[in-house]
Symmetry: C2
Subunit: 246 residues, 2 copies
């Protein structure tokens, strides 16, 4: 059974609150970076892995995509997506990312926002995505930064006078499962080293195009001091990879 | 004036001691990883950037390279190289890595062992290397791991009962100069984030082939417990990149 923490009511309500906060790390850091890596979507077929509320699917549709398929494992998420972000050319499908090789179709762009760190076998996922992409297709994804997913006991910041001093970094070299607390206890995520992430993509056949570790601007940190953490360690890693067999 | 710390006598003597230790991180971790990334050298023209004592040049010659050029900024290093590791098809040249665009020649393989973190402009270096490579040429390099080069005040491990507990990680997001103490004070190195390293290579035209963050085996850690640090954070990052215009 795949993890479906998003259908846990307590998690779902907590997650909703975070996403409604316009100053969330998603809105401030991750979304601009993700959209900045996207190619021109006009006339393109897009697959969104772990689409959640479907806001990105809606945006892809508005950016001119010919067709958008959003998949998610969570019924609750897709209920919101169908209600709040529908469009004629968007299809929301309940499916876990582990099963995308069942999809009978071809896409020009596969996008995944903050979901691949829930998947145990990233190499299989990369390979499945590669198969679903048309030639010259693009895979753009964001995930929690490998430094922040490393510690087995959860990220722990050392502070002095309320200023962040350092992150207690350990266990980075061990790729594998991490049992974390995020909104609720017992959320399972998968830490992977940089080399494991990149070598999985490369072995699947991808060519790396761009790597991004977004850092917020000083003006934002002045307004929202908690973001000063990302001057030490970025919250997110993003990669744009292409299907070009060389 | 480029930094030439290796001609500082105190540094040179200290460095010599480290390299003579068969259980150094270079011998245990870096060298096997670097040589593991090399393609077949038979009949190939090899350029070694920051060749130091020239042991790698000698090895490349013995592995069948048709010609090896080793460059280093340090006279003292090249003196040892010429004395201890000469061969008919090896040419040792005193030159800093910043000036390699002056070399009038073409290479099939450019190698650099633990030297690029001394260079301020990695993107220019990548571009210079790309220009020196023949089509389908390969660039293989090792450097200190970006997590260990991050802290502005030097790496600092927290220990409990003599066991490493964590690394105090800070300043990772700021690529730039670091004034460190290694053997002597005032050694200048350059920290770069993963994305800065990879995007420099990619913008120079390289295709990424393999990424490596070597970790020593349990049997080695049993014998040499200080290597347990690399279960938390690898000492080195290695990359194999190719000159394939796609």
């Amino acid at each position: 059974m795949k993890q479906n923490i998003y259908d846990n009511l307590e998690f779902f309500e907590g997650y909703k609150k975070i996403r409604e906060n316009e100053n969330s790390a998603n809105n401030i850091e991750e979304k601009p970076a993700l959209f900045g890596l996207l190619p021109d979507l006009r006339g393109k077929r897009v697959l969104d892995l772990g689409c959640g509320y479907g806001e990105n699917c809606k945006a892809f549709s508005q950016m001119g995509a010919s067709f958008v398929m959003g998949i998610d494992i969570s019924d609750r998420m897709l209920e919101v997506a169908t209600k709040e972000n529908p469009a004629d050319n968007i299809s929301f499908v309940r499916m876990c990312m582990e099963n995308i090789s069942c999809i009978d179709g071809e896409f020009d762009i596969v996008v995944s926002s903050l979901a691949v760190h829930y998947i145990s076998d990233f190499e299989k996922l990369s390979s499945d995505i590669f198969s679903l992409l048309a030639p010259a297709g693009v895979f753009v994804f964001s995930q929690e930064h490998p430094i922040t997913t490393a510690p087995k006991e959860g990220v722990s910041w050392a502070k002095r006078d309320n200023e962040i001093e350092f992150l207690r970094l350990k266990d980075y070299s061990y790729s594998g499962q991490r049992n974390t607390s995020w909104i609720v206890d017992g959320v399972i995520k998968y830490h992977r080293t940089f080399s494991d992430i990149f070598n999985s993509l490369l072995r699947a056949g991808f060519t790396i195009d761009t790597v991004s570790e977004p850092v917020v601007e000083a003006s934002v940190i002045n307004k929202l001091p908690s973001f000063s953490r990302c001057l030490h360690v970025p919250d997110f890693l993003l990669v744009k990879a292409e299907k070009i067999r060389v």
